[in-house]
């Protein structure tokens, strides 16, 4: 074993954070097993009743909607992010590089709330898109974007795009341009060269990007809350409503625990589904 004298120092801050997190989780877990006393902030004795309540259709559909939202967001972000990352890595044009970086990375510097408000301005009935479409005479009355899952997905894609582009660009920048040249010299057109060489070799980046986008959207709160306006229920928004509108802390905690469990299950499934894909790009 080599001695690593600073290891302890480097790890200890992370250890402290982990400790705090574990304590918080334990508290949430503890709450999830308590009975709710309506009209009171205190909680009752231990019960499994909260978990039985999870079986009500509204929660089942919220779970499904959350997973669907995450899935749509991850896929759309991937489809938008891949060409951007590819162009970013491959272009020699400095101006184009800067434009892509600005498009891809600036959203990181705006808070989620600011970003979400801008989307409300863009998507609203009197918002930018509807004004333009009506101004052009293409539509007679505004198209409903706000309070729909479509609007939520659009805004969530904006949130996850920077991380997706960064992860894909990192993966693509490790792929030597000569691989594509070799493929072309062997008779593959640009599209086949991409599909048989570049795409499989970038698979690790795709998997990392999709997984991260998925996990991130799963926990997103401000965007579905503000743009969904209570009509798009996700686990996060329900937890918020239960906890801070109904003050039903025990059930909010139960839903959180269930959400966490579901995230882990879905990520495990995702990994499972992607394993054959991962093999494609294995070195």
């Amino acid at each position: 074993m080599t001695r690593r004298p600073f290891l302890g120092w480097f790890v200890s801050p992370a250890g402290l954070v982990a400790l705090g997190l574990a304590a918080a989780l334990a508290a949430v877990f503890q709450y999830s097993l308590r009975a709710y006393i309506p009209g009171s902030l205190d909680v009752g004795g231990f019960t499994l009743g909260n978990f039985a309540d999870l079986l009500k259709p509204i929660y089942g559909s919220a779970f499904l909607q959350t997973v669907a939202l995450c899935f749509e967001t991850a896929v759309i972000t991937l489809l938008l992010g891949y060409p951007l990352a590819y162009a970013l890595v491959r272009t020699r044009n400095k101006a184009l590089k800067s434009v892509i970086l600005i498009i891809a990375v600036t959203p990181l510097f705006l808070g989620e709330v600011v970003r979400t408000y801008s989307w409300m301005i863009v998507l609203g009935n009197n918002g930018f898109i509807n004004s333009v479409l009506m101004g052009l005479g293409l539509i007679q009355k505004p198209v409903q974007f706000m309070f729909t899952s479509f609007g939520v997905v659009v805004a969530l894609v904006h949130v996850t795009l920077p991380v997706m582009v960064i992860m894909l660009a990192a993966a693509l920048s490790h792929i030597d341009r000569d691989y594509e040249k070799a493929a072309e010299s062997l008779g593959a057109g640009p599209i086949r060269a991409f599909l048989t060489v570049t795409l499989p070799l970038s698979m690790p980046g795709i998997i990392a990007g999709v997984t991260t986008a998925f996990a991130w959207t799963f926990s997103a709160f401000a965007t579905p809350q503000l743009i969904g306006g209570g009509r798009v229920n996700t686990i996060s928004t329900l937890v918020y409503q239960l906890g801070f509108a109904s003050f039903n802390f025990p059930f909010a905690a139960t839903l959180s625990v269930a959400g966490l469990a579901l995230t882990l299950v879905v990520l495990a499934l995702l990994k499972r589904v992607m394993r054959p894909l991962e093999k494609l790009g294995e070195h």
Binding site: K181, E184, S185, L186, G187, V197, L201, E282, H283
Partner: protein
């Protein structure tokens, strides 16, 4: 081909590769200036030149990875200037091999055949053949990272050859290998190339490699092809100062131009007359100073003062195994020490350091050029 029909005679169809005045610019700078090159089918042509002279650029133009800024390229008599890379039927071996890391050896070699829709059974058979050709039978299931540099090199070669390319392009393929391996790969490549008769363009900046492997060499410098000739001719009849000094070792001696016949001229070095080709000296006046280029093995040493020799002082010996390099000071002939290459170890005892010697020049294989800085 019927005689007296210049149009047909000039037609490109006799050459496997032909470049007609091909130019390539990057921004303002010219990377390749009007290259004219005609490579007959089956020839091993080497592009030789220092770093940045445009060798890779020329190769990339032939491969179709770069667009020309002028001129035309023909492959097998067909105009391909506008043809994309994947339709040019060219095999390329990259300097870093560029084997697909996510495919095993068999998949790598079979890639070009799959792209051509060759039936599976035939692919398997041809991949097996190609593996045998490069002496890698039994390695079909390995991944590239499980192979040594030399083995990766062979796989890259097999992958390029299995599609039966019209031209094989190799860009400094051996530069990543150690010296011994490089030597054996050179021999092997040459054998395979001769066996298959595939037209080959080989890029190197190693003049020894170029001289030993090529049918012909195109020597390049600063984006221009300076001379295209057989290795022997390049070495013995360099077209200009650059070629003379880039290929092989050479001594540059002060001389004077004497009389000139049609193709030969007489020059005097230290009062002794020697014969040189007249071509490079066309614009030089009789009696003017010229530079005489003499290869180290074309100088003999004799006892000082012997008739027909020039005087010098031995300054160093360097034992090279098969021969001895003797450095001789002769300020009247050259600012630099003159390198004399002698076979046999006894040269060291025969011509001791500090001793006076006589220098005698061979009567053939001397060339002379106008002194540096002169036009032409």
């Amino acid at each position: 081909m019927p005689a007296g029909s210049p149009v047909i005679e000039d037609a490109p169809r006799r050459a496997a590769v032909q470049l007609d005045g091909v130019t390539k610019k990057f921004g303002g700078s010219v990377a390749l200036h009007e290259a004219w090159l005609k490579i007959p089918s089956g020839e091993f042509m080497t592009l030789l030149g220092p770093s940045g002279c445009g060798k890779t650029t020329l190769l990339n133009l032939v491969a179709g990875f770069l667009d020309t800024d002028g001129g035309e390229i023909f492959i097998d008599g067909t105009l391909v200037t506008e043809t994309p890379a994947h339709k040019r039927e060219i095999g390329i071996v990259f300097q870093n091999y560029a084997l697909f890391p996510h495919m095993d050896v068999a998949k790598n070699i079979g890639y070009g055949l799959r792209m051509r829709g060759v039936p599976k059974a035939e692919i398997a058979r041809r991949v097996e053949q190609a593996l045998a050709l490069v002496k890698l039978t039994g390695y079909a299931d390995r991944r590239p990272r499980q192979l040594s540099g030399g083995q990766q090199q062979r796989v890259a070669l097999a992958r390029a050859l299995v599609i039966r390319p019209k031209v094989l392009l190799l860009d400094e393929p051996f530069s990543a290998l150690d010296k011994n391996l490089r030597g054996s790969m050179q021999v092997e490549l040459k054998e395979i190339q001769r066996e298959l008769g595939v037209t080959t363009i080989f890029v190197t900046h190693d003049q020894g490699e170029a001289l030993s492997m090529s049918d012909r060499i195109a020597v390049m410098s600063a984006g221009r092809i300076r001379q295209i000739a057989t290795p022997d001719e390049i070495y013995r009849r360099p077209a200009d100062r650059f070629v003379a000094s880039f290929v092989g070792d050479v001594n540059v001696l002060k001389a004077r131009l004497g009389s000139r016949q049609s193709s030969e001229a007489v020059a005097t070095v230290g009062g002794i007359p020697v014969i040189v080709p007249a071509g490079p000296l066309n614009d030089v006046a009789s009696g003017a100073a010229i530079d005489l280029f003499v290869r180290p093995e074309h100088i003999q040493l004799a006892p000082a003062g012997e008739a027909g020799t020039l005087r010098g002082t031995v300054s160093t010996h360097i034992f090279q195994g098969g021969h001895v390099d003797v450095y001789v000071e002769a300020p009247a002939l050259s600012r630099d020490r003159i390198l004399v290459r002698l076979p046999g170890v006894d040269a060291i005892t025969r011509w001791p350091v500090g001793g006076q010697v006589g220098l005698r020049f061979g009567t053939t294989d001397l060339t002379a050029f106008p002194v540096e800085g002169d036009p032409a």
